[in-house]
Symmetry: C2
Subunit: 166 residues, 2 copies
């Protein structure tokens, strides 16, 4: 079965109101579709996209920056999608034994979150399946297409008449 056009897929008789709307729906649907496959993979390992991303960030801070852990807010800021409730996100990881908290003695307001060896083990186990899924999802786009795709996605994030930038 070929992938039908979005318009046909939604059984809309009339064309889209405007091209921008069509692209928006296309974008949301595509992201949802690809996300869904990852969520299934994560769920099979008792993780969610959010908790997985936190673990990735913590491992990255260790490997690339040589840090034991990161302050909670720092973790929140590095997440792909904004998360206002980092506390309970980390709570779940701690309950699962994948992360731990230590209070920063220099500034007792901040809490350092770090990944445990169990957390690292989970990530290691997931690395290959994740990479394989990435390849399966977008590996059939050529190098050129990927570059153009990224360019368009970044341009789409840059709003027109961004009055907030002044």
């Amino acid at each position: 079965m070929n992938v039908p056009s979005l318009q046909h897929e939604l059984k809309k008789q009339q064309p889209f109101d405007c091209p921008a709307e069509e692209a928006y729906l296309n974008l949301v649907r595509t992201a949802g579709s690809l996300c869904g496959e990852f969520n299934r993979l994560f769920k099979a390992n008792n993780l969610s996209e959010s908790t997985y991303n936190v673990l990735r960030i913590l491992r990255g801070a260790q490997k690339a920056e040589g840090l034991v852990g990161l302050p909670s807010l720092e973790v929140a800021e590095r997440l792909v999608t904004r998360v206002p409730d980092i506390t309970r996100l980390v709570d779940r990881l701690i309950t699962a034994g994948l992360a731990e908290r230590t209070r920063d003695e220099d500034d007792r307001r901040v809490v350092i979150v770090s990944i445990t060896s169990a957390g690292l083990a989970v990530l290691r186990k997931l690395d290959k399946p994740i990479r394989r899924l990435h390849e399966q999802q977008l590996g059939h786009l050529s190098r050129k297409e990927l570059i153009e795709f990224n360019r368009l996605l970044e341009k789409a994030r840059q709003p027109v008449a961004s009055s907030t930038d002044y």
Copy 2:
């Protein structure tokens, strides 16, 4: 302020593991960003993206297909993002007076969901702001870019080696 590259934005020191992953993160982040703006608009009118989409589908069925309403399952199938819990989604619309249920007398298992005049009024009120937001978000992409964007998004949804298609 320019939109920094995703890589810089996430404060990752090392490059992405693979191009497919970079594109995936870019996609998810862009969709989340644009979605967030719509969600704010919807919320200001006591709607969510899901409930708004249901209303749109119901209005579309009326206008384009001349139907009074649609069976619940039919509504669920037309939604952009899969929703397993159409019942309570419609519940909320009914509580808000924007939709109503009638039992199909021919097949008493099915429930016909239809939009009320209040629901149509809400949609009418939102039509312009929605269109304006679409234009603001993606209106700065040229016609050519939008076409290519759509093409790439559809290609991205088409998995490689889709063994399920045989």
